[in-house]
């Protein structure tokens, strides 16, 4: 039984490997010159970096839906959070006891805070003409929050506040508003006039950065706090 299973998996892997090899060797030339089309369209897109142009101009509908999916995922994660209100005082004591608290970590966190914010802003700004953009900048912001929490600073009060909900929603609603605005002027969905496109894209990315950061951090913050063993 076990032997047969091993044999079957070996046969399957070899088969897949042979087919992959065949596919690599007999590569066909695509009939559409997408790269050429993209290079041609860049000047009209409002941004200079091809990846950003694809994500927020030529394929912005996909990105809009992606943000919606991310929002739904975070809302589900937050809904699964322990509904019992954390007794703040007890909670504080518990996390003060168990969180890693060394002077080096504490001062390093304060030192890294402005640097990480600067990195996030740089990544956001760089996205217009070189690798970077909202997701990467948002991830840096989230990492900042994670570091903050690991170092024993509390983010629970933020995680429970209305600001978190506003931040979570801002990205999607902002993007949606920008996406539907052209409809008011008789243009198709997401079809921004080229002269404004650059500014609109940067504005959307800025809001998305905050939202993505808060979403990713929300996943981490809704996990049980250190010292909170009520599971």
């Amino acid at each position: 039984m076990n032997r047969a299973r091993v044999l079957a998996s070996v046969a399957l892997s070899v088969g897949v490997a042979v087919m992959l090899g065949g596919a690599v060797l007999s590569r066909t030339v695509p009939s559409f010159d997408l790269a050429g089309d993209l290079a041609e369209g860049i000047p009209r897109s409002g941004v200079a970096h091809p990846i950003t142009a694809v994500l927020l101009q030529f394929r912005s509908y996909d990105t809009l839906l992606e943000i919606a999916v991310l929002l739904v995922a975070v809302v589900v994660a937050l809904a699964l959070r322990d509904p019992r209100p954390a007794a703040e005082a007890v909670h504080d004591e518990a996390s003060a006891n168990t969180a890693i608290s060394t002077p080096v970590l504490a001062s390093l966190t304060s030192l890294l805070l402005p640097l990480m914010i600067m990195t996030a802003v740089y990544l956001l700004w760089a996205g217009a003409f070189q690798p970077g953009g909202a997701f990467q900048a948002g991830a840096v912001l989230a990492a900042l929050g994670v570091l903050w929490r690991v170092a024993g600073r509390r983010i629970a009060s933020f995680a429970a506040s209305r600001w978190q909900h506003v931040g979570l929603l801002a990205g999607f609603t902002g993007f949606l508003a920008a996406a539907t605005a052209p409809l008011l002027f008789g243009r198709p969905l997401l079809a921004w006039p080229s002269s404004y496109a650059g500014a609109i894209i940067v504005a959307i990315e800025a809001v998305l950065t905050v939202s993505v950061g808060i979403s990713l951090l929300g996943l981490f913050a809704s996990a049980p706090e250190p010292g909170d063993e009520r599971v």
Partner: protein, 85 residues
């Protein structure tokens, strides 16, 4: 020649890190190997001239997922310790 050698080493390192993460009995070790795997994948994306994907992979794949997994491991350890007592 040197880049080919680097690519081969990178590929080998990827497979080793992936196998280590999957087969390691110690969860902490598995998570650390997973983070190493994520960073190597980011390097591989750079070698494939996709720096955007590399940035996202390093930040989300290795960094945030790694932090979440480490948090989960620490939590599991503490809960199993309190159950033992």
């Amino acid at each position: 020649m040197l880049t080919l050698l680097f690519d081969l080493l990178l590929g080998l390192g990827l497979v080793v890190a992936a196998l280590g993460a999957l087969w390691s009995r110690d969860l902490f070790r598995a998570v650390v190997l997973f983070i190493v795997f994520g960073l190597l994948v980011a390097l591989a994306w750079i070698r494939l001239q996709a720096p955007d994907v590399a940035l996202a992979e390093a930040a989300i794949g290795a960094g945030l997922t790694g932090a979440l997994l480490l948090d989960a491991v620490g939590h599991l350890r503490r809960t199993s310790r309190t159950e033992d007592e």
